[in-house]
């Protein structure tokens, strides 16, 4: 079965609590992060260090913070190693903006159209999607299973008054479902391809969405074209498929290059039809879908009807 095969590989699953190989790869990270008691009283069921729900790690020392601060700078450098992610971001946001404005009846000519909406960014990484959403007026919660990412996101967002209100948590979608959190819009971009059980993941996303709320999922298509793209751009795409939210040092890169490249992951990609189907089973009705197309001449991404490589789907929750 696909998921057990995937489980046996050392993989960068952010939502797979049992995969302790992640610990080895963050060689510079102390193995136990001192965290404060979670604000809410729900205990984490898993022993895994990476799924402790915590809003802010408050007792880190100065040198620790300085290290994270430097890592955050690399992550957020739009000309740096995570450039592809930064270049693609405005295009994803354009889709989210148009679908959500239409769905919630917001004025698209308003500078802060998401005022009053609660949005959750699942797999937020360093906050590249959360920050613009906050600038557009939303009350944003960003979650990621990797503590490092949450730290980066927190330090970066603190400075801008419009983004310092973002709530970042190191947790998983499933845990939030247990806490019975609800959001007007649930956004999970480039996450589902890393999840062991996409169907369960979609159910969690649906459970986090209020009735008649919106769910947006983006991923890579399992098509011949995406396979070819993965092989051709293997080195670059490796960072990207792994969703580059991991700060790279030499050790990380050395280990990463031993990991299987795009091919194994490719078999676990979803086609648009499959995604629509699992979302439907989770009572999310997919209303719109678009593809992302990269123009190497202009160096820019645009939305198109071509869903053969990267695509994004917008759905609404009906009961």
């Amino acid at each position: 079965m696909a998921s057990s095969k995937l489980l046996s590989q050392p993989r960068w699953f952010r939502f797979l609590p049992r995969n302790l190989s992640n610990v080895r790869l963050f060689s510079d990270l102390p193995s136990q992060l001192p965290v404060s008691e979670p604000q809410n009283s729900i205990e984490s069921k898993s022993n895994n260090r990476f799924s402790k729900p915590s809003s802010t790690p408050s007792s880190l020392k100065e040198p620790e913070l300085a290290k994270f601060s430097a890592i955050a700078d690399t992550w957020w450098d739009s000309e740096g190693p995570f450039k592809p992610l930064h270049i693609m971001n405005p295009t994803r946001l354009a889709f989210i903006r148009s679908t959500l404005c239409r769905h919630f009846g917001k004025d698209p000519l308003c500078a802060r159209p998401f005022e009053g909406l609660r949005i959750i960014d699942v797999g937020c990484g360093g906050g590249i999607l959360s920050e613009p959403l906050a600038r557009m007026g939303a009350a944003v919660t960003g979650i990621d299973a990797v503590e490092k990412n949450i730290k980066i996101a927190r330090l970066h967002a603190n400075l801008d008054p419009t983004t310092s209100t973002i709530e970042y948590c190191c947790t998983t979608a499933e845990k939030l479902v247990d806490e019975q959190r609800k959001f007007d819009a649930v956004v999970a971009l480039e996450v589902i391809e890393h999840v062991a059980d996409p169907a369960e993941f979609c159910k969690s996303l649906a459970a986090l969405t209020v009735h008649e709320g919106a769910t947006v999922v983006s991923t890579i298509n399992r098509s011949m074209r995406s396979y070819a793209t993965a092989i051709v751009a293997a080195e670059y795409l490796l960072q990207w498929n792994l969703y580059g939210y991991y700060p790279w040092n030499k050790h990380d890169i050395a280990v990463a290059s031993e990991l299987p490249k795009g091919t194994h992951e490719w078999s676990s990609f979803l086609t648009p039809e499959e995604l629509t189907m699992i979302l439907k089973r989770a009572s999310i009705d997919v209303k719109e879908m678009a593809g992302f197309v990269y123009n190497p001449l202009t160096g820019r991404w645009s939305l198109s009807d071509d869903i053969s490589v990267n695509f994004i789907a917008f759905g609404t929750k009906e009961n």
Partner: protein, 504 residues
């Protein structure tokens, strides 16, 4: 001192700001700084803005108007930094004033931009002159071209407007909008932008100084002691841009060994046509301003320009009439290359103006202003944008005036930049992000460079008096005159409607 406190309280309303500033308005900036030695602004306490436009000239104000006219940007907080006292004063232009020799020819594209931002209505209240005909010829007598707006199915080829009219129209326009703005009547002395870094604090502290030290705001220091913080700094401060210098943008360019003499002249009859004759040392242009006045732009080498500036009025007028008429060479006839018959296979529909004969421009009767002399140069910034800084207008590119394009390129920059900022805000981008600003650069730089190259090419082609080249030029004149698709393209390109096919 009281005025400064009053001014700070009325920070965002420029109309009320005018009155308190009047006593300072005719000072040199140095007087201001000494009188404010003990000003009540606390050390380190600056004002924070979304955009700081350095340079409140035509292009800077056009950007402000454009931002005010778009739904996604009209809520932005804008600072305008310019030591020009005219910005703080209510500018009344009297109808009886003689036309100022500093004029610009605005293209139809600029006119529609002005209409979009709501500034053209103010221009129409003052003197302005549409023209729909143009004649271009040279001293060799080998050819000429007449352009008519109807050739390209347009109403006008352009409109000649005094710069002071454009400036005051844009100022009135921006003051009538709801845009939050503050004018700083001072000069920029220093600017610093630090690299982005993340906070070392767990809690958020959002003071300006912290935001600045982490690269989220640029800090501008003014001569009068104010500090201004902004997410984006726009350099609209002209050919000798301080912003460009402080930001470290490299420029390339050269000085043409030419100066331009400009002045206003009067005719006995109305002039409705734009005339340009290429002489051995440079072109002379006669542009209608309205009310029987015209503007002269005469390009020549520096020695001659100082001579012409100092001769008597009568001698100068004689020289001008001579240059426009039989000076330096004969009137063109069409006989050299026939009546365009050799182009008949290429003609397509014949344009109206192809049948127009050569005309001599109206005689210049009187000099109506002082003669001003300016050196000409070409300058181009290698980049238009870097982190939190962007250049528009002459700060980014300076061109030869021979086609009257200069300020139109600047207005194009302002329009594009405000569009890009609007798109950035739509998707929640930080407006000082380099990747956003580079989109503006990618849009404008090729078009501007192309225009500069074309103008530079003309300048070089017409400054050589060499038989075969003269014939080629004549052929070019004839071609432009008789080949209608070419003429339509030329008119469209010069009107700012299209880019050259390379970019469309």
């Amino acid at each position: 001192m009281m005025n400064r406190i009053v001014a700070r309280n009325f920070g965002s309303n420029v109309y009320r700001l005018r009155i308190p500033w009047r006593p300072f308005s005719n000072d040199a900036a140095s007087n201001l700084s000494s009188s404010n030695a003990g000003n009540p602004t606390k050390e380190g306490e600056g004002q924070q803005y979304d955009i700081a436009i350095v340079g409140g000239g035509m292009v800077g104000l056009a950007l402000a108007c454009s931002l005010a006219s778009r739904p996604l940007t009209k809520h932005l907080n804008v600072a305008i930094i310019d030591s020009n006292p005219a910005l703080g004063r209510n500018h009344f232009i009297k109808k009886e004033d003689l036309p100022d020799p500093r004029v610009s020819t605005v293209t139809p594209a600029t006119i529609s931009f002005f209409k979009d931002i709501g500034a053209w209505q103010y221009v129409e209240r003052h003197r302005h002159a549409y023209f729909d005909k143009m004649q271009v010829w040279d001293y060799t007598g080998l050819g000429y071209t007449k352009y008519n707006a109807r050739d390209a199915n347009k109403e006008v080829l352009g409109c000649v407007v005094e710069n002071k009219v454009l400036l005051s129209s844009l100022l009135s326009c921006v003051q009538d909008t709801d845009l939050q703005k503050k004018i700083y009547p001072s000069r920029l002395t220093s600017m610093s932008i630090l690299p982005n870094s993340s906070s070392l604090e767990e809690d958020s502290t959002a003071s300006e100084t912290v935001l600045f030290t982490h690269g989220r705001l640029a800090k501008l220091e003014l001569e009068d002691g104010h500090s201004v913080y902004a997410k984006l700094v726009v350099g609209a401060d002209g050919g000798k841009s301080r912003v460009r210098e402080l930001a470290g943008f490299r420029t390339t360019g050269w000085n043409y060994s030419q100066n331009a003499i400009i002045c206003t002249v009067e005719h006995a009859v109305e002039n409705h046509c734009a005339w340009q004759r290429f002489l051995p040392a440079g072109p002379i242009a006669l542009l209608p301003i309205g009310d029987k006045f015209s503007n002269i732009v005469w390009t020549m080498n520096p020695k001659e320009s100082s001579e012409f500036k100092s001769v008597t009025e009568d001698d100068f007028l004689k020289a001008v009439n001579h240059a426009l008429d039989y000076g330096y060479g004969p009137h063109p006839t069409s006989s050299l290359l026939g009546n365009g018959d050799i182009f008949s296979w290429f003609k397509g529909d014949i344009t109206m103006s192809a049948h127009d004969c050569f005309e001599v421009p109206p005689k210049v009767a009187k000099l109506a202003s002082e003669r001003m002399v300016f050196p000409l140069s070409l300058r181009h910034a290698s980049d238009y944008a870097s982190k939190r800084v962007v250049l528009i207008g002459d700060a980014a590119h300076t061109v030869h005036p021979l086609a009257g394009q200069g300020v139109n390129l600047g207005f194009g920059d302002a329009s594009t930049l405000s569009n890009i900022i609007s798109e950035g805000i739509a998707v929640g981008t930080d407006i000082g992000e380099v990747s956003l600003l580079k989109k503006y650069e990618a849009d404008r730089k090729p078009a501007n460079v192309m225009m500069m190259a074309v103008l530079d090419g003309f300048q070089k082609a017409y400054s050589v008096d060499f038989g075969p080249l003269n014939i080629l030029r004549a052929a070019a004149f004839h071609g432009a005159h008789y080949i209608s698709p070419l003429k339509k393209s030329i008119i469209s390109y010069a009107s700012g409607e299209h880019r050259l096919p390379l970019f469309s």
